[in-house]
């Protein structure tokens, strides 16, 4: 499938900003089942300095800095990505009892050392007894990992109300667990916290999902937003991406931007400016449009 993604973020400042710094994680990474046909980041005004690098997690990051007064910042990421469904058999390794996938307590001396850190608490996703209790309802002894993960997703999908605007990026996982409502990143954080609390490795994934219009209505442009889900680790199988918001495994209708321990590692765009004490407004528009049918040709 070929997906054409446009993600435009606009900041408007009530007073001109003379110095600004931003980091954008808006360009998709390359994966075996996800190939960039093109990807570009357009920035207005023209930044004084722009550098691209790969971050700790392997994500593409563009560092921007501005040193001329401006009252508007527009960052537009445009990518054409071809995606493939998961290869057959790739979820087979997730059929073993979940205990075999535990990364903690530490059994790793050498080998897949890198993955162990995804079982540790992270700044936005602490582990807790509450989260573990939530996970243990599903992760009964010997249950196959895939089955348990899917059941966990199902429960999050049913237990939590999808309600934009009730949470912010600073809402804690405990608060979300208490209020039982939030958006995709909250659900991903809850799932990650639950998995880590029982010793499993889990990552936060930032990306997009092609949204289909309701039957009979034309697809509206610009209504989409960026999306987030989680992935879970199995020693033989690697990382399996799962979307608790939509209660399904991630498929070829998803585009991956990047991953990290939690939202803080992969925020699509973050920035700091020296303000004259003014205000800012933020508008985001995302289009994920399918190109040329479904077969990617």
């Amino acid at each position: 499938m070929i997906l054409d993604v446009t993600h435009r973020t606009t900041y408007r400042y009530s007073q001109p900003v003379s110095l600004g710094y931003s980091e954008a994680r808006l360009l998709p990474r390359e994966l075996p089942i996800q190939v960039n046909r093109s990807s570009a980041l357009h920035v207005h005004p023209v930044p004084a300095m722009r550098t691209e690098r790969t971050d700790y997690f392997g994500n593409r990051v563009v560092h921007l800095s501005f040193d001329e007064p401006h009252d508007e910042l527009v960052v537009t990421a445009h990518s054409v990505v071809s995606t493939e469904p998961l290869p057959p058999g790739s979820i087979d390794h997730f059929g073993d009892p979940w205990e075999l996938a535990r990364l903690l307590p530490s059994q790793l001396h050498g080998g897949g050392a890198h993955d162990a850190e995804f079982a540790l608490p992270s700044p936005l996703v602490p582990t807790s007894a509450t989260l573990r209790a939530y996970a243990e309802l599903t992760f009964t002894p010997g249950r196959p990992l895939l089955d348990a993960v899917q059941h966990l997703c199902h429960r999050i999908h049913t237990d939590f109300d999808y309600r934009p605007g009730v949470t912010t990026i600073s809402t804690s996982v405990d608060e979300v667990l208490e209020a039982r409502e939030g958006v995709c990143q909250d659900f991903a954080h809850v799932a990650i916290g639950a998995l880590r609390s029982i010793g499993l490795g889990a990552q936060y994934v930032s990306g997009y999902l092609e949204t289909e219009p309701p039957p009979g209505e034309p697809r509206l442009a610009g209504v989409d937003a960026s999306h987030a889900w989680f992935s879970v680790f199995a020693p033989e199988g690697g990382w399996l991406h799962v979307d608790p918001t939509n209660n399904q495994l991630v498929n070829e209708r998803y585009v991956v931007l990047g991953w990290g321990r939690d939202y803080g590692d992969v925020a699509p765009l973050k920035g700091v400016v020296f303000s004259g004490g003014g205000e800012q407004t933020l508008t985001v528009a995302v289009d994920v449009v399918r190109v040329n049918g479904t077969d990617g040709t």
Binding site: Y21, M49, L108, A113, H227, S275
Partner: protein, 863 residues
């Protein structure tokens, strides 16, 4: 050597079962101490007490403080030093020195690996989950590729500290490593300076290794590491600000090393390069000693809520344009879980065992280690392997049953978050306690090392700290421990050398103007204003108090009218309304209100409040002031302290002498400012501040005393008092022998360009002071706002006709004739002085750091 009956240490009783630094179990003096012990004996017990008092005086005079968190008094705590040093022989020292060098080298290699190739994780020498959960492991700083081999050395482990104790056998043991921003070296150097002044006979009798040359090594190290190719890199010390617990040390090191002390807001990153915003324009920064924790150094890539850092700093280090000492992510080296693996790491990286032992440690993330810790929990200290909210180091034996059970539960739940560590009983050293008794106290020594070309150099000595009691497990400054100077004996005398001799490549003097951040200049400006405000107020109060005593019976003609005006002047100049204004009844017994204006720090404008503001400004520019300045400033608050809380009758007796000694201190500070400070823009700002304040005070005084009508007797008494308060009575008497006239008083106090107390003199000095401040005219020929206001005020003053000002006008409402023109002229001039101060703030001090950092709203994920 054994102790005679009358020896100063005769009554000293080390604790059984602990090793003592001074005495062997048979009470003979250990060899390293013999000379020291006999000189201390000659000094004698009584004189030791005197020296302790002298030490306190000197430390206070140098303004040495250590701020304790949670102390609400608002004033920093005074630093405390034991007159008895800790003595180590050069052989003992050699072992320690080699061990510290090895440990620093090892930690530097670990740091390089875990922020670079990360091979230690892959090889299984260091379990990743032992350290990757540590908040100080900053992923933004990891650079796996070999891409910047050249810059790799720039910001590794440069400064290192280790806490050393000696165990029961006298063998040195490393208790803790300090790699984030090792503090204490400045205090150690200050301790040496003070002790060598107080105990000169001791220093003559034994040869002690000098510690001061350590700073030269720091300079050389920073110079070698800085990115710029210049021989004289611009190095800054980044401090969290005057509220940090060791701010004294930041300022001390800045002034000793000749580096600029900056806060995050003083720096700005442009195109990947760090600049110091300074009065003369932005200057590139090549290297930084940071005293801000790494996580807080860049709100863009690290903790977004930080107001202490500089956005873009991480990118600057990534590009190699700035060397940071230490590496922003160095705090992970302090992680107890990592420490537990150092013996293995030493074999893996250096191919040799650790030279200095450390307490045996078990990281509970390893199942075998966990079992061991749980089985021996009562013989251990349990440390959190990563600091988290509420985490503490615990000694299970000291816990009650419930807390102990909770600890065991927590360990079982999250074993990888805990490290069990063998308990080491530190040796004891003789310490002069607060009751004047020499007693045995546990001692910990912080040692310091700095990176040299490919190794490390250790300061011979260190910062000793003694616990408050024998049982105290953790000796820390936060708990207000007493410090000790640590002496490493040399076999022969070392040549005396200051910080600057033999300092390698010659260093050109950098432009002093460039090195001053606007924040510093602003604080100097306000320091000038507060000092002058205090001085003016003290003079006025003295005059008022003298007059009050003199005219107590109010029999002298004009007495009550004079007192009324003088007291009103106190209220008007301090702004402590209602005070004496419109409340003539206060005038009959003015002392309670006068005392309030003097001692109550909660009354804005009071002398106590002014002195507090003055000290806060001075504290913020500590590194700009000479050590002697603190002699004058620090004792100022103590001059009025006896008045606080004293009964009025008693306070009345103390008042005159308290005000006199306050004045002496203020004059001493003014003298130092005049004679000891370089005439740089900072000085100019301080002087302008002083003169603006003096003008405002003078105008307020004249307005309150001379504009109203009144009988001739009251007027002439008032004029005389005004001249006294304005420090011009002698000149006036000499010049105008006749009776006092308002017009001639105004000639002298307003216009006279030769009277250093006149408004005209101040305005001329302000104009030249403003001309000394750097400014960017950028092709303009006109004046800046501050210069325009100054010129306007001066012109307005010069066209004043004092005869006209002195003329009284009949009042329509029948009240006594008043000097209306004088009142309006003074009001206009005062308005202009306030405008001038605002304009100076706007033109010179409003830089970027005044613009708050605004975090971009972040977009949540929607679908």
């Amino acid at each position: 050597m054994t102790l005679t009956d009358d020896h100063v240490f005769e009554a000293y009783r080390p604790t059984d079962g602990r090793r003592d630094e001074l005495l062997r179990p048979d009470r003979s003096v250990r060899p390293a101490w013999q000379e020291v012990a006999s000189v201390l004996d000659q000094i004698g017990h009584a004189d030791l007490q005197n020296r302790r008092v002298e030490i306190r005086r000197l430390l206070r005079g140098d303004g040495v403080t250590y701020n304790v968190y949670g102390d609400d008094s608002g004033r920093p705590n005074a630093w405390n030093l034991d007159p008895l040093p800790l003595v180590w022989s050069s052989d003992e020292w050699r072992t320690i020195e080699q061990g510290i060098v090895q440990r620093a080298e090892l930690l530097a290699l670990v740091l390089e690996d875990i922020y670079g190739p990360r091979s230690l994780f892959r090889k299984g020498v260091l379990p990743p989950d032992a350290v990757l959960g540590h908040p100080g492991y900053l992923r933004a700083l990891v650079q796996p590729g070999p891409s910047r081999a050249g810059a790799a050395k720039a910001d590794g482990l440069v400064l290192y500290g280790a806490d050393i104790v000696r165990d029961l056998d006298g063998y040195p043991v490393v208790l803790a490593d300090f790699a984030e921003s090792p503090s204490g070296a400045g205090y150690a150097l200050e301790n040496r300076l003070v002790l060598s002044r107080v105990m000169p006979s001791l220093f003559r009798s034994v040869h002690v290794h000098r510690t001061a040359p350590f700073l030269r090594m720091v300079r050389a190290s920073l110079a070698a590491r800085s990115a710029s190719v210049t021989d004289d890199p611009r190095v800054v010390i980044l401090t969290p600000g005057p509220h940090n617990e060791s701010h004294f040390e930041h300022a001390f090191l800045a002034s000793q090393l000749g580096y600029t002390l900056v806060e995050g807001g003083d720096l700005v990153v442009r195109r990947g390069r760090v600049y110091l915003q300074s009065l003369g324009g932005d200057e590139p920064v090549d290297a930084m000693i940071r005293r801000v924790d790494g996580e807080w150094c860049d709100p863009l890539e690290l903790r977004p809520e930080s107001q202490l850092g500089v956005p873009g700093l991480v990118e600057a280090t990534r590009r190699g344009s700035l060397a940071v000492a230490n590496h922003l992510g160095a705090s992970v080296l302090e992680c107890p879980a990592l420490t537990a693996f150092l013996p293995q790491l030493s074999h893996a990286l250096l191919g040799q065992p650790l030279l200095l032992p450390q307490p045996r440690s078990w990281w509970c993330g390893d199942p075998q280690a966990l079992a061991h810790v749980l089985a021996h929990i009562d013989d251990m200290v349990v440390k959190p392997s990563t600091p988290w909210k509420g985490s503490r180091t615990l000694r299970s034996r000291q816990l009650d049953d419930a807390d102990r059970a909770a600890l065991l539960h927590d360990i079982a739940e999250c074993p990888h978050l805990f490290v069990g560590q063998e308990i080491v009983e530190p040796s004891t050293a003789p310490t002069l306690n607060a009751r004047g008794v020499i007693e045995a106290r546990p001692v910990v020594v912080r040692t310091f090392a700095v990176a040299d070309h490919d190794s490390f150099v250790v300061m011979p000595g260190g910062l000793g700290r003694v616990g408050g009691s024998l049982d105290e497990v953790f000796v820390s400054n936060q708990r207000g421990a007493l410090s000790k100077d640590v002496w490493v004996l040399a076999s022969e005398p070392e040549p005396t050398s200051g910080f600057w001799l033999r300092s390698g490549p010659s260093v050109s003097a950098s432009d002093p103007a460039g090195a001053l951040p606007p924040r510093t200049v602003e604080n100097l400006y306000w320091l000038g204003r507060y000092v002058e405000r205090a001085e003016g107020l003290v003079r006025l109060l003295r005059t008022v108090v003298d007059r009050h005593i003199e005219l107590q019976d109010r029999l002298t003609p004009g007495a009550s009218g004079t007192m009324e005006r003088l007291l009103a002047a106190v209220t008007h100049t301090t702004g402590t309304y209602p005070g004496f204004v419109d409340r003539p009844d206060q005038g009959s017994d003015p002392l309670p209100e006068l005392l309030r204006v003097i001692v109550d720090p909660d009354v804005p404008g009071s002398l106590a409040a002014t002195l507090n503001s003055m000290l806060a400004s001075a504290d913020a520019v500590r590194e700009q002031l000479s050590g002697d300045s603190w002699l004058a400033l620090d004792s100022l608050t103590r001059t009025i302290a006896p008045l606080r809380g004293a009964p009025v009758a008693e306070a009345e007796n103390l008042l005159a002498s308290a005000l006199a000694s306050a004045l002496v201190n203020l004059l001493a500070f003014a003298g130092l400012a005049g004679e000891s400070m370089v005439r740089d823009p900072g000085w100019a700002a301080m002087d302008v501040g002083r003169r603006i304040e003096r003008t405002i005070q003078l105008l307020a005084l004249l307005r309150a005393t001379l504009t109203q009508g009144g009988d001739t007797a009251a007027e002439s008494l008032t004029i005389e008092s005004t001249l006294v308060a304005a420090e011009s009575i002698i000149t006036y008497r000499r010049r105008y022998r006749s009776q006092a006239q308002v017009a001639t008083v105004l000639d002298l106090l307003l216009l006279d360009p030769d009277n250093p107390r006149s408004a005209g003199f101040q305005l001329a000095a302000i104009e030249s002071g403003l001309a000394a401040l750097p400014r960017s005219r950028a092709g303009r020929t006109g004046l800046d706002a501050d210069e325009r206001v100054a010129v306007e005020a001066h012109a307005k003053l010069r066209i004043v006709d004092t005869r006209e000002l002195a003329t009284r006008h009949e009042m329509l409402d029948g009240s006594p004739p008043s000097r209306l023109v004088m009142a309006t002229t003074i009001d206009e001039l005062r308005g202009l002085m306030v405008d001038l101060s605002d304009a100076i703030e706007k033109v010179h001090f409003t830089h970027l750091q005044r613009s708050p950092l605004l975090l971009h709203l972040t977009e949540g994920s929607g679908v």
